[in-house]
């Protein structure tokens, strides 16, 4: 689990309890500055003041000062609109290269009053500050008092690998848009970006492993051969739930049989492709096809070799191995 960040405020519990577990909560500073509209507002106030002085008009003074005070109060409210938010990140769902990775950002408002129109956006380095930012996505969030919400910050993925969360700017200019208050947050979770599945649709020819003498390592679907302990990656449908209900732990039914088709996807099967990324893409595609076709498939790439198997978990293990290739 990643670190929680609270904006400015150290939480105190209204009920007088010794507080929430705060060991993991880090305090972050909130910055505040006038927006462009706010600066123009200031300019307007100066013009108004000059008018008031020139015409010696008390009500003009009054209006000018009222709007000045409104601006100051607005500043406090803008700051308040971020203060006390607790932010944490969660692991995003893996995506294929080219898809949008959605980073879950948890916003917890148990400490504060309702938060309005809080914006999440990718942090821009100062160098790009004045550039027109057309591609920066903004996510607007509103959170009621005492509520929690999870918002997904989208990042377009380009290539396979592990995508680290981008530094996010969390900001708000509510209520009047004259000031913007902001803070930074770094999602600690990474997103797995699987290779983009592409290449030939045709699977390489099945290789039937006939070393049936080695009983233990062979699995088939024909004859029931007994139970063994659950290993991560085993298909869920092979778990004996009855045994689990009897509190015997997770057991997996084992079958034996020669008839099982086993496909080993290995580096040789893609040796005709030169580019490593394309190889991985091809393998990825085959993994998906094999899973779809309910085949037993294994993966053998340099440094990694996965026993044949099938099911969601197995597929994910294979895809993860492909993703992490070379890292």
């Amino acid at each position: 689990m990643s670190t929680k960040v609270v904006l400015e405020k150290l939480p105190a519990d209204p009920a007088g309890r010794t507080g929430y577990q705060l060991e993991r909560i880090k305090r972050n500073r909130v910055y505040i500055f006038p927006t462009i509209q706010g600066l123009i507002y200031g300019l307007m106030l100066i013009v108004m003041l000059l008018g008031a002085i020139n015409y010696n008009n008390s009500m003009a003074y009054m209006l000018c000062f009222l709007l000045t005070s409104l601006g100051l109060v607005c500043m406090l409210h803008t700051y308040k609109n971020l203060r006390g938010l607790i932010i944490s990140s969660a692991r995003p769902k893996a995506v294929f290269a080219g898809q949008q990775a959605l980073f879950p950002i948890k916003l917890d408002n148990r400490l504060g009053l309702e938060k309005f129109s809080v914006q999440l956006q990718q942090w821009e380095s100062r160098k790009n500050f004045f550039k027109k930012r057309n591609d920066v996505k903004k996510v607007f969030i509103g959170i009621g008092s005492g509520q929690q919400t999870t918002s997904y910050y989208p990042i377009q993925t380009q290539r396979r690998g592990i995508l680290a969360g981008k530094r996010l700017k969390i900001s708000t200019d509510f209520p009047l848009g004259l000031f913007v208050a902001w803070s930074y947050f770094e999602p600690e979770a990474d997103c797995l970006v699987y290779p983009k599945p592409q290449g030939q649709k045709k699977l390489p020819s099945y290789t039937l492993k006939d070393d049936d003498m080695d009983f233990g390592s062979q699995t088939g679907t024909d004859d029931f051969a007994g139970f063994r302990k659950y290993k991560p990656g085993d298909p869920i449908h092979s778990i004996t739930w009855k045994a689990f209900a009897k509190e015997q732990g997770l057991l997996v039914k084992q079958f034996s049989g020669k008839g099982s088709k086993t496909l080993i996807l290995n580096w040789e099967s893609v040796s005709h492709i030169n580019d490593i990324e394309s190889r991985l893409s091809q393998l990825c595609y085959w993994v998906l096809l094999a899973e779809q076709a309910s085949l037993h498939y294994g993966l053998e790439i340099p440094n990694v070799s996965l026993e044949p198997g099938r099911g969601m978990n197995h597929k994910e293990l294979c895809l993860e191995a492909l993703t992490k290739y070379g890292n």
Partner: protein, 662 residues
Amino acid sequence: MIRQELTINKVIWLSIGVALASFPHWQRLPIWIPVSHIILLAARLYIPYQLPALWSQRKGTINIIRLVLMFAGVAGVYGSYGTLTGRDVGIALLVLLAGFKIFESNSKRDFYISTYLGYFLIITNFFYTQTIPTATYMMFVIIIMTAGLIDFNDTEHQLTLLKRFKLSTTLLIQAVPILLVLFILFPRVNGPLWGMPKDAFTTTTGITDEMSPGTISQLVQSNEVAFRVSFENEIPRLSKLYWRGPVFWHTDGRKWTSGSNKSDHPPSLIEFTGEEIHYDVTMEPSNKKWLFGLEMVSKRPDKTYFTNDYQLKTRESIVARQVFKLSSYSSFSINKDEFFDLGRGLELPESTHPKTRELASKLRDEFQEPTLIVQAALEWLKKQAFVYTLTPALTIGDSVDEFLFNTRQGFCEHYASAFTVLMRAAGIPARVVAGYQGGEVNPIGNYLIVRQHDAHAWTEIWLDDQGWVRIDPTSIIAPIRVNEGMNNALPDAIIDIPLGLDKNATAFRLWQRLRNTVDMVNYQWAQWVLGYGPEKQKLFLKYLGIYVIDWKGLTVYLFVLLGIIVAAIAVVIFKKTPKITEPARKYYDSFCKKMAKTGLARKSYEGPIDFAQRASTDRQDLESEIKNITNLYVQIRYCSDHNKLLQLKAAIKLFTPAKEKI
């Protein structure tokens, strides 16, 4: 950039706010300007909001159309006013511009600029009127515009219409303490910083620089306040209150003016006797330079001067309510030993007023001595059947002769001008003085209100040894006017008493009291809010115990106090914790608080039952109570057994754990 489309919902409050801000101007503008303003606003609300977005795709054409429209607008204003400078023109342009800007709004920037134009529209209203009703009205407009801003920034639509207005009002209320600090402490300087447009202040009713039959009786119809006076000591008798204004020397037989061939002789000598009277005069804007002081002013404030015939004038026209500190003596003599300008005091247009001249020569031949002539003339006036009336019969031909010998109905200006002519014809230097006489005492606040209907005119004659002496012929004809004030001298119809009220004494008194209270509030508003300039600021700060006089010291004060106030508001704002609306939870929290005081605080991960378990093992003396409360709470919260709420409340109220285990 994600385009922030301005939906109609977002623009509607802005449009309403801007329309309301410009509304008071409508009556002052050529009709086509408010009409096009409203058409533009309505069009923006009516047309589908995709249209402005479409425009941005055809920028070239749209820009040309925009330019043409803008040019047409400016040309139209020029056509209506014949100029492009001045206050009224500026406002006409601003109203048009606000309409155009809202009409073409389709981005965040447009929205904000339109809002700021709206704020400017509000401020321009104050250049015409600064009354309490105007201020209140504008406050509402500001609430609406601020709600519009909130709506714009409430991207997730979390606020209902009502809540938006509530937040807007809250923001403005929280702004008030800062506003007060700024208003009181911001160093005031005397304006103007630069020239004001010529039309900055429209003509107001009041005494002008010329007088002809009818000018003053017209003023008498007006209940407008000319100025208010608060005396340091008690208010002198009404008959002594002659507020001196313009002095008229020249007549063409009908109209009186100050005349063109003024001498540049310095103000003549003046001798005072008796007791000095100190008082403040709060002038309403008159757009004139006369400061009406009590005859005769002994100490004039800065930025004023005396003309040689003792008109007290300000250097700048009085365009805003302004307070002047004055001192006067009621007994005085002017110009006793000097003879300048006496010739001007004898001029009469040739071959006019034959009958008056005849009477004058008769008087002169008979009495010789000027004092006797004056007395005889006044006697003569008294004997004839003169009528003091607001609606005299029209004089045809020679107005003075007609009045003195034929119609014999007139108002103070008739009497003053006829008497002056008579004196001049008799060889006694004379001039007409216009101003106000008397006033109305407001017992609430104890000050004097001088209204336009107290306008008056009288004569001054020059006598050997005495100098210029005031003769008020009106006081001979209608002594009640001078002794008891205008209200009693004229039929009720003139004074704005509601119909029928004059018959019921109690109701009349109540009404009078109400009127006095309202005027008092207005007076204080004028004195302390509208008249809060450098002098008032110094005075008020002294009253507060701040003796910093220069602006630097004041600025330090201002910033320190501002910091304190903002910090205090911040505490108030940030201290607000979310309200727990569920009653059971509220009660249970108070139970937890009580437990925490004994040293047993509920941990964040502990559910109520776990907590009860731990607490009752720790404090076995409280076990039954803890279990009871927890059971009730659990039943209410998790079994929806809301009937037990009162029971829970009672149990928790009775729960008073001892600090230590017994």
